[in-house]
Symmetry: C2
Subunit: 192 residues, 2 copies
């Protein structure tokens, strides 16, 4: 009976994610979101609630994409090469086009201290990333490419933090060459 939706919910959610990603939480306005998503006021509020709820959902969507990316690179039997490829892919993303960084890392800095819900969501998002690194490192230990004495969890946390380091430098205008150099230095702990 009802008139069907004229937009795809996930499509416009992805658009909202892009806007928050580019401009940050505070600097993004509902009007900006409306125009980018191409919806009327009522449709937006009816579908997603207020700005906070929309941001939460957009962040969740980002994290789900990030999870998929992590799984693709670190999923099964990829070992150290998976880690290197993940870093290379992130550097490509960070140095191409607008310097929008990573919505998770950006939000850790801008939003986490003022919003416990977001902080919680980000912790679980980063944990997932850590687990990805840990499983790749386990694989590397099994292959013998890193020594069994390695503290896998500590190294996985370190690698996750390195993505944060890349984001900060990229946002401040570091070139792709500088990011590559940084990544090389950071990953040098993997081959002693």
């Amino acid at each position: 009976m009802p008139r069907p939706r004229e937009f795809d919910r996930d499509d416009v959610l992805l658009t909202a994610m892009e806007v928050f990603w580019t401009h940050g939480y505070e600097a993004t306005t509902m009007t900006q979101l409306r125009h980018a998503m191409g919806l009327g006021r009522q449709s937006l509020y009816d579908t997603f609630g207020d700005k906070d709820a929309l941001f939460n959902e957009a962040l969740g969507r980002y994290i789900s994409l990030n999870d998929a990316d992590v799984d693709a690179h670190l999923g099964k039997n990829q070992g150290l090469d998976g880690i290197r490829r993940l870093f290379d892919a992130r550097i490509d993303m960070l140095s191409s086009g607008a310097r929008r960084g990573c919505l998770m890392m950006n939000s850790c800095v801008e939003v986490s201290p003022h919003n416990p819900d977001v902080a919680q969501r980000l912790r679980s998002g980063l944990k997932r990333m850590e687990r990805g690194f840990a499983s790749a490192l386990d694989q590397a230990v099994a292959e013998g490419t890193v020594t069994p004495s390695t503290d896998v969890d500590a190294l996985a946390f370190y690698l996750t933090a390195q993505i944060g380091a890349l984001v900060v430098m990229a946002k401040n205008g570091a070139t792709k060459g500088e990011l590559t150099q940084l990544s090389t230095q950071a990953l040098s702990v993997l081959h002693p």
Copy 2:
């Protein structure tokens, strides 16, 4: 002839710096600043201009304090121990009280992409930090505590980025123990 100022310009500037440091640029309001600084509207605008100008000056003041801190730790003949002590001091700061991070790193993420002046200022602030690390590394090479084949500049850039990594993780609620573990892992490249 004139009535003298009743406040110390630098005192209130330091207060403004604290407020921006704690809440970020966007989330800080002029009213909040006025109250923290304890001045009337007119005095504030007359003395510092608008919000943008005040932020710029506060950031400059932060950078001058950071420069002094870097010099104190990495200044002369401190070598690798100076680097370790600087990291320990930063970890103490990042894990005590409010998770305000570092005004420079925070601004790299929140402000740099939208404000070229700030980005420029931050680049020079980070460069200063890099030079501090580089001079400590030069000292370490001279002492023989690191090998002469080290790429000092690349390592100095890497160390600067590690401060960024610590800030991101700290802002997202990492414990002091986690930050210490991260720092240990990050600095392990210094003693092969």
